[in-house]
């Protein structure tokens, strides 16, 4: 579903993505984990071209990423993205947030879009908030609306960039629960997160990233109990200490 082949990217002199090869099959859930600054967000953002790449190829559902314009917008519509900071449209109600894409990009009728939006909002448990503005919701509710907004586009892949790291502990669970449900329903997902509980229950694979490289890939169980590389051992040692 997603294929990254020898992808290279520089930020000036910083070689932030080095020789990235990553194949994700339909329905697979991949958790990307690694130290801060290792390039996880950048990797995630290249998949819908919020960041450009300098070398290599990225294809989504067999189609290479278009450079610009209409076809790029079309591809982005097929790739859902959930941000750390939620990024809900502040001037629109929850319902309008979820229907904007389906109406403007998918060209659905308003009635259709409304009906489907309520479906998605119900799926993540925030349908009762449909007429509020984002600022009137808790962080956990906002993030679930953001997930519903992405799902309403009926994407082929969902990208999550640290979706719970801006949330209070009691709200993390409600967001993770929604994500676990989604994984169980067979959505293809790339999730940057340090939530090991989520990785263990929902992920098929953990990719460990350090200094712009994918250093190690394994099943969650193998990775957490028996890491191979020194970088991974070191990293897990640090996050498990606390």
């Amino acid at each position: 579903m997603v294929a990254m082949d020898s992808v290279q990217k520089w930020f000036g002199k910083l070689h932030v993505l080095q020789d990235i090869d990553l194949q994700i099959t339909p329905g697979e859930v991949v958790v990307v984990i690694g130290p801060s600054g290792s390039g996880k967000s950048t990797l995630c953002r290249t998949i819908n071209r919020l960041e450009t790449i300098d070398e290599g190829v990225i294809a989504v559902d067999g189609q290479e990423l278009p450079k610009e314009g209409k076809s790029l917008a079309g591809l982005r519509a097929d790739v859902g993205m959930v941000f750390q900071q939620f990024n809900l449209f502040a001037h629109k109600t929850v319902l309008e947030n979820v229907t904007l894409g389906p109406i403007k990009v998918r060209k659905h009728s308003k009635a259709d879009a409304d009906r489907k939006a309520h479906e998605q909002l119900r799926r993540v448990g925030v349908d009762d908030q449909a007429n509020k503005y984002p600022a009137q919701l808790s962080g956990g509710q906002q993030q679930r609306v953001a997930i519903a907004r992405a799902l309403a586009m009926e994407p082929k892949v969902m990208l999550f960039d640290e979706p719970t790291s801006a949330l209070d502990p009691e709200m993390i669970k409600e967001v993770l629960d929604s994500m676990v449900d989604l994984a169980k329903q067979g959505m293809t997902m790339v999730v940057v997160t340090h939530e090991m509980g989520f990785a263990r229950t929902a992920a098929h694979r953990v990719s460990f990233m350090a200094d712009g490289r994918l250093v190690e890939e394994n099943t969650p169980n193998e990775f957490f109990t028996n890491p191979q590389s020194d970088r991974a051992k070191d990293f897990l040692g640090k996050i498990l200490e606390h």
């Binding site: 819908n48 919020l50 209409k70 917008a73 079309g74 591809l75 982005r76 519509a77 097929d78 790739v79 859902g80 993205m81 941000f83 900071q85 990024n87 809900l88 449209f89 502040a90 001037h91 904007l100 894409g101 403007k104 990009v105 503005y133 600022a135 009137q136 953001a146 907004r149 992405a150 586009m153």
Partner: protein, 315 residues
């Protein structure tokens, strides 16, 4: 209510009923009462001064009030007022559109567009409006013909004498609009920049095109920042139109001066103009307040919620 011993009397003076325990509330109480006394005194002084000035104007033998009454609704004055309104509305409208283009150029990644935009703002904001109006009014002195053609090739389609194209009215609009556009460009740019980067990224991630992103996500949010200063600019524009009197622009001030040049009632006609300017700017201010209230709806909802939760936590 947890703060039940704080009450307010009908004059709005905060009162704190004594509950026996000495707390810090005694001190603010004293301050409130003192300010209240000086509030009355200063109010009286200001009212007395204002009344004195008004009275001295009214009984001043050098001002013939009947003349003011005679001209305030005269057709010539109303004509000038109409021209003033036309100038202000047209110039402001052109300035908003042109300012939007200039601000988008400034924000674009294209360095040529950015440089042109910066140059424009530098030139039109850096020179006095009065000078710009005089230059447009005398445009024929340095270009006597205006020609439509392909630059640098000598191919021309049509040509007109400058004085036929740039009438006084056109010169006035050019002067006001091009100057104003420089300010509008900066106002619009700050509005667009106030919309967080996360908003545009989310719009892009949904697959919205650039145009859709601008019209559905960026502009509606930027408007809340852009509208209040634009209202101020328009009110200022209503007054700045009076500068076109230097090229006999036919506006309210031009007409008032033309009349007083004949009847020598200078002050009376300036008062006529002043009254109209005040009336028109007052209406514009009211309109601005109305517009701002409409645009502020979603913000106000957020504030309501903020107050409620704050109160909820306190109790």
């Amino acid at each position: 209510m947890p703060l039940a011993n704080n009450t307010t009397d009908e004059r709005g003076i905060a009162m704190t009923t004594s509950t026996g325990t000495k707390t810090g509330t005694d001190i603010p109480q004293a301050i409130v009462k003192q300010r209240n006394l000086s509030w009355w005194i200063s109010g009286l002084i200001v009212a007395a001064v204002a009344a004195f000035i008004a009275q001295s104007l009214y009984v001043n033998p050098n001002i013939a009030w009947p003349v003011v009454g005679e001209f305030i609704l005269s057709p010539r004055i109303l004509n000038g007022l109409w021209t003033t309104l036309e100038l202000a509305v047209l110039s402001q409208a052109i300035a908003i559109v042109l300012g939007l283009v200039i601000s988008l150029m400034r924000l674009s990644s294209n360095p040529v567009a950015g440089a042109v935009s910066r140059g424009y703002i530098w030139l039109f904001r850096g020179t006095p409006l009065l000078v710009q109006i005089l230059l447009w009014g005398n445009f024929a002195l340095f270009y006597d013909q205006i020609t439509l053609g392909i630059p640098f090739t000598g191919v021309t389609f049509a040509s007109w004498p400058t004085n036929e194209v740039i009438t006084t009215f056109v010169a006035a609009v050019l002067g006001l609009a091009l100057h104003e556009a420089a300010y509008m460009a900066e106002i619009i740019r700050s509005g667009i920049m106030s919309v967080g980067y996360g908003q545009t990224e989310a719009a892009q991630a949904l697959g919205l095109t650039r145009g859709q992103m601008m019209s559905r996500v960026v502009v509606p949010q930027a408007l809340r920042i852009i509208v209040p200063p634009t209202g101020n600019q328009f009110i200022q524009m209503l007054k700045m139109t009076s500068l076109v009197a230097v090229i006999a622009g036919g506006d309210l001030l031009t007409v008032a001066q033309n009349i007083s040049a004949v009847n020598l009632q200078t002050i009376e006609l300036l008062i006529v103009a002043t009254v109209w300017y005040l009336l028109v700017t007052s209406i514009a201010s009211a309109g601005q307040a109305l517009l701002e209230r409409r645009l502020g709806r979603s913000i106000r909802r957020q504030k309501d919620r903020g107050n409620k939760t704050a109160r909820g936590r306190a109790s």
